[in-house]
């Protein structure tokens, strides 16, 4: 079923009445959903760049214009830019790592607390606005997870039949940042709004 822009916005906000939400959940999925979602989200951001893909809450892959034309970057709705979409945006975030009993107890008290010797809770935060973007709970020492590397060009060209203006190889470039760090390179990789 086709969902209107207004209803989809309310659905995303958790404000759509349950009977209409249920109808959307149970009804056939609409082929045009992605386009409507893009319109809803594009209207909500204050910056001009075109959203290519909503990546997660507050985060988008956008197409830069002007001086940076041709770049595709991950951007927060506050305007903070995390860099190339093929580099794990988490490496350009701020992080609070809960790796001791005291900090874990703030979220998981008493019987609910994981073992800090085995588990760490990584909270990735937007340096621009302080919003919590992702909580990663993993074994201590596990590399930061690159949750999703979308194949943007294949998606637009083969699935949406609307190719983007240029193509960029879908390859993981996160280790470029690691190499800079290993050589004592610059620490912040994002740029403020």
């Amino acid at each position: 079923m086709t969902v209107s822009k207004a209803d989809l916005g309310d659905l995303f906000d958790g404000k759509l009445p349950w009977d209409r939400t249920k109808a959307i959940v149970s009804g056939p999925k609409d082929d045009g959903r992605f386009q409507v979602a893009l319109e809803v989200l594009q209207e909500r951001v204050s910056w001009p760049e075109r959203i290519l893909l909503p990546l997660s809450e507050h985060l988008y892959v956008v197409e830069k214009t002007g001086e940076w034309a041709g770049e595709r970057i991950v951007k927060c709705d506050c305007g903070y830019e995390f860099g190339d979409w093929r580099r794990n945006w988490k490496l350009s975030a701020a992080v609070i790592v809960r790796d001791d009993a005291e900090s874990l107890e703030e979220i998981y008290p008493g019987l609910r607390r994981p073992d800090p010797e085995l588990c760490e809770v990584r909270e990735f935060i937007c340096p621009g606005c302080g919003v919590l973007l992702k909580v990663e709970t993993v074994p201590v020492g596990y590399p930061i997870i690159f949750d999703v590397l979308p194949d943007l060009d294949a998606f637009y060209q083969d699935w949406l039949r609307a190719p983007l203006s240029d193509t960029q190889a879908c390859e993981d470039r996160t280790f470029e940042i690691i190499e800079e760090w290993a050589q004592g390179g610059p620490t912040p990789h994002g740029r403020p709004a």
Binding site: I24, L38, Y108, L133, V138, D151
Partner: protein, 734 residues
């Protein structure tokens, strides 16, 4: 050459070979390039499918009417499926659908092992299988298989699965944890012919009666399953009379091919191609288990990286490269178990329109490294009681990965995560004086993960059965020497977020009229001290699950005095049992070795809920006050987690948020976060130094070393991320 029992006098082996070959050559099931029969007359096709589904669901309900087991009657741990002669799934009932593909694998195993020639397959023959080395999830799940013949030709199979309370396993039975060799798994039927002419063999019945503590329950379940299968068989014969045998043969195959195409269409419509990643930690505490195979007595962790690649053609690869190695414990998965896990997850996340069958799985490829904990080199010597454990953990996280795809595509209403759980099972003499396994299996005590558009269902989160149900307290109490002390939602079980996960309901059981009883773990998840990574888009996973055993309590005296007992967990940092009862308190991990318990002892088990969605500081204040009203949050949670200022309005008898103070607090919390946070690069440098210095828990160091040794790809990822030398191997004090 002997005439076969299949189509046109072919043997089942010939049919299986031909179907596989045509599927492989064309990419379409059985070489069907166009499902013309179904598309040519869609109304008749729909009617036909409805008739199949009605037959299966009626069969399933038949079982529920005959069985005496609360597993069947209370929480519906059963399912029933229809198969082609060569064992490919055509249609399936609701229920524990993890077994639908596995039961088909059993048929194919029988075909591949010359059953047609050497064992014989005839009209009215009954076969049982509960051997996971053939296929399946654990021996407690027993498959009843019945061939359907029409005019001398085997035209289909119908199979029913029921989970048994007792399968003759070592104590505590059913799903034991002190179980590392196959002999401790209990009674096995390795695709055994157990009857003919619709009648169970007398010697098989005697084998059961002399082999199981709960033989009556087992045999009643079999009667239910056999009756269900016969009912479906007779309905299939009526359908064939009505639609014709040629239609039946052709339509069944087209249903599989049609579903394969629909599945690809759904993937292309609702997901985004690309690479998705997560990691599953598996914790195995076996050192204290009372087993005689001493190499098993070792605590260890295994790492299982998951990579899903959605390709533009709609094909999906699930790649477990880097999964740690197998071990002597009952928690190794198998390829069959991994496919089963995918099957039941798909029917509730993508292929949920009632048409699921083998076609739902055909676009998928699962890559399981040989020798890993997901694909041991030889399953036969191993215990298999808890294949479930890693499977549930893996697919719960996979749900989160699929949710990421749904989010990007705008289908946030379909986002979902769930989480396995562990508990306690007992063995001993029940209140009627019979020694037997004592396991309750309420599935409705799990909260569901948050969706992208709202909170998760409270007590609605067990993906393994679509119709989650706690069952009736009074019925469980008839089967177990205990009394339930409470069934209350636990606010601290929740995964926080803008939308929170559902809340879970802890078990609070007081032993009553028990004698010579032991308690031990039952495992439906291998994660314990490491939280599963199921938080979505800034939401947190629910906290750690836990088990508490209160022994030598003063419950009897307190009850006699009319004082409250332990009816809920209370605050996890100051649990109710610390003040409400005098007891010897044990808080074991998820694999407690067997321990004696007595009347008046209390067992507490609380599962952790899955993940929340979004930043908790963005949760609507009115949603928080609603939680306060409903007992699903406390003032401490409202303030500490959500940053909501709320006060109880004595006049209106409800909580009211102070929006202005809330907004101010939330702004301060966001600023405080930024002050407390550091650039990832700083944390990376510190962590790298710790790894280089070997300042890492020995079990984790061993787990990483194990995965590095198993996989060059994982080794390159691990060393690459931490900027480590090519020959670096994690170790303590490395």
């Amino acid at each position: 050459m002997t005439r076969g029992i299949g189509e046109d006098g072919r043997t089942l082996a010939q049919m299986l070979e031909a179907t596989r070959a045509r599927t492989g050559e064309t990419g379409c099931y059985a070489g069907i390039m166009e499902p013309k029969l179904l598309t040519g007359d869609p109304v008749r096709a729909e009617l036909y499918h409805s008739r199949l589904m009605a037959a299966l669901i009626a069969g399933r309900e038949t079982t529920r009417m005959i069985s005496g087991s609360p597993f069947v009657r209370e929480v519906a741990e059963l399912a029933i499926g229809l198969y082609t002669p060569e064992g490919d799934s055509i249609a399936q009932s609701v229920g524990i659908q993890v077994h639908i593909r596995c039961m088909g694998e059993v048929i194919q195993w029988m075909i591949e092992h010359d059953y047609e020639e050497k064992v014989g397959i005839a009209d009215g023959d009954l076969f049982w299988c509960n051997d996971p080395t053939v296929a399946g999830m654990h021996p407690a799940d027993v498959y009843d298989l019945l061939p359907i013949f029409v005019e001398g030709e085997l035209v289909a199979w119908v199979c029913t699965v029921i989970m048994e309370m007792d399968i003759g396993a070592v104590s505590p039975g059913c799903m034991p944890t002190a179980n590392v060799e196959r002999s401790t798994d209990g009674m096995r039927f390795t695709a055994e012919k157990v009857g003919s002419d619709d009648m169970l063999r007398h010697d098989i019945e005697l084998k059961v009666r002399y082999g199981l503590d709960m033989a009556d329950m087992f045999l009643l379940d079999r009667k239910g399953a056999i009756a269900a299968n016969i009912r479906v068989r007779e309905e299939i014969r009526r359908i064939i009379e009505e639609f014709g045998l040629d239609w039946f043969r052709c339509a069944n195959r087209e249903l599989i091919e049609e579903e394969r195409r629909n599945q690809i269409a759904r993937l292309r419509q609702r997901t985004v191609p690309g690479r998705y990643r997560n990691v599953v930690p598996l914790e195995y505490y076996m050192a204290d288990q009372p087993v005689t195979w001493l190499p098993a007595k070792k605590d260890h962790i295994r790492i299982v990286p998951i990579e899903m690649r959605i390709e533009t053609a709609g094909r999906v690869v699930l790649d477990f490269e880097g999964a740690g190695s197998w071990g002597w414990h009952p928690f190794n998965a198998t390829p069959s178990g991994m496919w089963g896990g995918l099957a039941f997850t798909l029917v509730q996340t993508i292929a949920y329109d009632g048409r699921a069958n083998l076609g739902s799985l055909l676009p998928f490829e699962i890559r399981l490294p040989e020798g890993s904990v997901l694909n041991p080199p030889d399953v036969r010597p191993l215990a298999t009681a808890s294949i479930w454990a890693p499977v549930i953990d893996i697919y719960s996280l996979w749900c989160g990965m699929v949710s990421g795809a749904y989010y990007m595509r705008g289908f946030r209403e379909e986002m979902f995560t769930y989480r396995g759980g562990c508990g306690l099972q007992m063995a001993g003499y029940d209140q009627y004086g019979t020694k037997r396994p004592l396991l309750a299996a309420p599935t409705g005590n799990f909260g569901a993960g948050a969706r992208g558009t709202g909170d998760g269902l409270d007590a609605g989160g067990t993906l393994i059965t679509a119709e989650v149900d706690l069952g009736n307290v009074e019925i469980w109490e008839c089967f177990m020497p205990y009394m339930d002390l409470g069934r209350r939602f636990e606010p601290w079980s929740v995964g926080w977020g803008r939308f929170r996960s559902g809340a879970s309901i802890p078990t609070t059981a007081l032993l009553h009229r028990s004698t010579e009883t032991i308690v031990a773990g039952v495992v439906g998840s291998a994660a314990e001290f490491i939280l599963p990574n199921v938080g979505l888009c800034g939401g947190y996973p629910g906290g750690k699950r836990f088990t508490v055993i209160l022994r030598d309590t003063d419950a009897a005296e307190r009850a006699a005095s009319g004082l409250p007992l332990v009816h809920e967990i209370g605050h996890p940092a100051a649990p109710a049992y610390e003040t409400n009862i005098r007891a010897e308190v044990h808080t074991p991990h998820h694999l407690p070795p067997p321990m004696e318990v007595h009347d008046g002892d209390i067992l507490l088990v609380s599962v952790g809920s899955p993940g929340g969605f979004g930043d908790p500081l963005e949760r609507a204040p009115e949603a928080v006050t609603a939680d306060l009203d409903d007992g699903l949050a406390t003032p401490e949670i409202a303030d500490g987690i959500y940053g909501v200022h709320a006060q109880f309005d004595d006049g209106a008898k409800c909580w009211v948020a102070n929006d202005e103070a809330t907004a101010e607090t939330r702004a301060q919390r966001r600023s405080a976060r930024l002050e407390r946070a550091e650039p990832v690069s700083e944390w990376w440098r510190r962590s790298r130094a710790r790894i280089l210095d070997g300042e890492i828990h020995p079990m984790l160091a061993e787990a990483y070393a194990d995965s590095i040794e198993s996989s060059e790809v994982f080794a390159a990822e691990y060393r690459g991320f931490w900027g480590l030398p090519d020959d670096f191997r994690p170790g303590v004090g490395a």
